[in-house]
């Protein structure tokens, strides 16, 4: 990381472009080798790592899902023991929510938001590196615990008293609670980075009404993370305290309360659903505009709908608790709010339909995934309005009806758009196209496989099959439907396998993508595929919401940035007027050491409360190493 040829304060003005690019590459590059890999703070490398890791966890969680289907395929099966089964469904749920769905959405933001707002790196790039290592450590903790037969067996929401000291013997519940700590630290860090990147690092001219819709979605998601995740931190920490040092938060005999857990958990747990879903609607809005060949209909309603969804998300949590015997008036309020959230979501659906109706839709794989999403999500939304009603919910609570409902909204509502988004942005990230022919097969297999798998679960639920049961007797008459579901799940799994095959194969064999293969309108397509280390040689100047469509002749850009340090533009929150040239931190190994030190402290604290004290010392040392000025140009103003 030297800056040989350029004196301090040298600028890019009046220097040949190729020289500018060479010097920027010099200043922003990630060195090869292990050290470079551990020390990098490039949002693209970290984002890519995050995405790949999340998909590995998706695959692992999928294996558990297939094991569950194997066990349930026939009555009285004994594929594995009831104890193992409890771990399998708990880890399937916890893995999919905490290690796949939330991280993968944030990861897409980590990779794409800086490119879409026209900056050179995410805000707080070292925090970003730290976040990834924490996430990875949390994932390894959960899976290592499972392999050591220490996996949590308490359901993904870990209700007390089952997870408390009285019933949850051993360290299984602690593994769940501490995995939460890891992943939430990671998620909160990314949320802060995205909020500040969107507020302060937008390219000059990108006023609030020119922010790409995906970026709006990630901004709202980040605020949801900031508002909701502290609740799960409070609940998991108090659970560990009850289990480890004998506090009584959830011990009724000593003035504690079990419903307190459910309130805290669902105050996080319901917004969590929208933390997964809101990025997905941003992906849909982006894909719809590009393939309808026109700006989305109703930019303002779409933005307002996303914000309204984000606010209403915090007023719904009690609908997960309708059967615990709360006051009637409270239940009515939460029924109303649960139905109200269908309104902004309905508005979005209609905006997308109008965009497609008014445009000239090009039926490529990403858009096919959007079609699959609309159909599936509407079904999931309708059953959502059904279970918002207390009498109906009382009948189907804890049955397979609910399992069907949330898989419709989570897979249909979030995973389908995500897969569409992968087909859409893969060329930008990798520089090569995925296969259109295989893509159509993937959409078909996943869509058909999904609906054949999960639609019959509604019926099983109405017929009384409870969630989480290990097995059932043949007299219950659920056998043939369950066998059908398990066979259908193979079709769904085949679709995912084909998707993974296509993604891996195309990285080497896909046709080169070029800068803008879809002729899209937003800034990430203004640079090469994959983007250079510095993203943009010259920071774009934005004049509309789809700058690449409206500036076809030549993209307006800004000059005058320094070449001897990593420099970005800081702009005002409202109208993105440039107000400073700020430095962006260089690569550093310290976030990695901080994550190692934090992991040691967190894991040791499951076994001894004193670990919090002695474990803080290495963390403090690592943090000082992280923040101590190194005398490089980035450290000085």
């Amino acid at each position: 990381m030297t800056t040989p040829d350029f004196a301090p304060d040298s600028r890019d003005t009046d220097i040949d472009r190729s020289l500018v690019e060479r010097q920027l590459a010099n200043v922003w590059s990630t060195p090869r080798g292990i050290f470079g890999a551990l020390a990098t703070v490039d949002h693209k490398i970290i984002g890519r790592r995050y995405i790949i890791t999340a998909f590995v966890f998706l695959a692992l969680g999928g294996v558990l899902a297939m094991l569950i289907r194997l066990q349930l395929a026939r009555p009285e099966a004994r594929v594995f023991s009831p104890d193992r089964y409890n771990q399998v469904f708990t880890i399937h749920g916890a893995n999919m929510m905490f290690l796949f769905a939330v991280p993968v959405m944030e990861a897409m933001g980590v990779y794409l938001v800086p490119l879409m707002v026209g900056t050179r790196n995410i805000a707080f790039p070292r925090l970003n590196a730290f976040s990834y290592w924490m996430y990875l450590a949390g994932g390894i903790l959960l899976w290592a615990a499972f392999l050591l037969d220490m996996g949590p067996d308490i359901g993904w929401f870990a209700y007390v008293p089952l997870s408390g000291p009285q019933y949850g013997a051993g360290k299984r519940a602690d593994m769940w609670a501490q995995m939460i700590t890891f992943t939430e630290v990671a998620a909160l860090a990314v949320a802060v980075e995205i909020v500040v990147t969107v507020f302060k690092q937008r390219a000059p001219g990108m006023s609030l009404d020119r922010i790409p819709l995906f970026v709006w979605s990630m901004l709202v998601t980040s605020f949801l993370v900031i508002g909701a995740l502290p609740a799960i931190m409070v609940s998991s920490t108090s659970l560990i305290l009850d289990r480890l040092v004998g506090t009584h938060f959830y011990n009724v005999a000593e003035g504690g309360d079990v419903l307190l857990w459910q309130h805290l958990f669902w105050f996080f747990g319901h917004p969590e659903v929208y933390i997964i879903f809101v990025p997905a609607v941003g992906m849909v809005s982006t894909i719809v505009a590009t393939f309808a060949r026109r700006p989305t209909f109703g930019y303002l309603p779409l933005v307002l709908a996303v914000i309204a969804t984000g606010i209403l998300a915090f007023g719904l949590w009690v609908h997960h608790m309708f059967t615990v015997g709360l006051p009637r008036l409270g239940e009515s309020f939460f029924t109303a709010s649960s139905m109200a959230i269908a309104v902004p979501n309905g508005i979005q659906i209609f905006c997308w339909l109008i965009t497609l109706w008014e445009g000239r839709p090009v039926l490529k794989t990403p858009l096919l995934f959007v079609y699959a999403f609309v159909v599936t999500f509407v079904i999931g939304g309708l059953t959502g309005v059904m279970v918002a009603s207390v009498p109906f919910d009382t009948q189907v609570h804890d049955t397979y009806f609910v399992v069907a409902h949330f898989h419709y909204v989570l897979i249909g509502g979030a995973v389908f758009p995500l897969m569409g988004a992968i087909y859409y942005w893969y060329p930008k990230i990798v520089g090569r196209m995925m296969s259109e022919r295989l893509g159509r097969w993937v959409v078909g297999l996943v869509f058909v496989g999904f609906n054949l798998t999960f639609f019959p679960m509604h019926l099983l639920g109405l017929n009384g099959m409870p969630r989480r049961i290990y097995t059932y007797q043949s007299e219950m008459q659920w056998g043939s439907t369950n066998l059908f579901i398990s066979l259908s799940a193979c079709v769904l799994a085949l679709g995912f396998l084909l998707f993974f095959y296509d993604a891996i194969r195309s990285a080497r064999k896909g046709p080169p993508a070029g800068d803008n293969p879809w002729d899209a309108g937003t800034l990430e397509w203004a640079t090469t595929s994959p983007p250079p280390d510095y993203n943009f040689a010259y920071i774009p100047v934005v004049t509309s919401a789809y700058p690449l469509w409206d500036e076809r002749e030549a993209l307006p850009v800004a000059t005058g940035l320094r070449l001897d340090r990593r420099e970005i533009v800081v702009s005002t929150v409202g109208d993105a007027r440039p107000e400073a040239r700020e430095s962006s931190p260089r690569n550093s190994i310290w976030p990695f050491w901080t994550a190692i030190a934090t992991s040691i402290m967190l894991i040791a604290s499951v076994f001894s409360p004193w670990a919090v004290i002695w474990g803080s010392v290495p963390i403090a040392v690592a943090l000082i190493g992280w923040f101590w000025p190194k005398g490089v140009p980035e450290d000085d103003a």
Binding site: A123, F249, I624, A637
Partner: protein
């Protein structure tokens, strides 16, 4: 694609202060996260209190002494804290150096007092849910005091090195001062909860 230069940024400052700095916004975001955490724990306190037939549960009222002295010290500390932020804005190194030493001492004092606060509660964390929540409230706030002390000490050392007289460091001083205000401000509702709600 083709590009045309339309804007020259070379006259912009090399580092923005206050709301023009990304770290200022980062500090604000972390305050939002931690503020939500504090609000939730206070919510837990009120929730448990609303369920309990008597409050405090099985313990006498907490002594007012240590907690009130700590509150007064925290409130007094706001004055030098605001001053150091102003001096940092004017980049007056000598005054900032003196101020950061004063602030380091003012961070240590409440931490010392906190060790007298825990016994003044007259209940252990493992006695009952009341003990659990008041210890958690004090402990959570104490972790913020300790973090800010560490931050302030490191900054104090840096201000006496060659890295001190630098616009970016002065910005760090301001962000640190902002965070201390947050630590003081969040203490007030916690103080009200622990010491005055049981007296209502």
């Amino acid at each position: 694609m083709k590009q045309r230069a339309v804007l020259d940024l070379s006259r912009l400052p090399l580092h923005g202060m206050g709301s023009a700095s990304v770290t200022w916004w980062g500090t604000l975001s972390f305050m939002l996260i931690e503020g939500t955490g504090f609000a939730l724990v206070i919510g837990v306190y009120l929730y448990l209190e609303s369920l309990a037939p008597e409050w405090p549960i099985g313990a006498p009222l907490p002594d007012l002494g240590p907690g009130s002295v700590l509150t007064i010290i925290l409130l007094i500390s706001v004055v030098p804290n605001l001053l150091i932020s102003r001096w940092a804005g004017r980049e007056e190194l000598r005054k900032v150096q003196i101020g950061i030493i004063v602030m380091s001492l003012l961070c240590v004092a409440p931490l010392v007092l906190r060790f007298y606060e825990f016994p003044a509660l007259h209940v252990r964390w493992d006695s009952n849910a009341y003990g659990s929540i008041v210890w958690t409230l004090l402990g959570l706030h104490m972790s913020h005091l300790a973090t800010d002390l560490g931050d302030t000490l490191v900054l104090a050392v840096i201000m006496f090195t060659k890295h001190g007289p630098n616009k970016r460091r002065f910005g760090d001083i301001q962000d640190n001062a902002l965070y201390w205000n947050f630590v003081v401000l969040t203490w007030l509702p916690i103080y009200g909860c622990i010491y005055w709600i049981p007296r209502l």
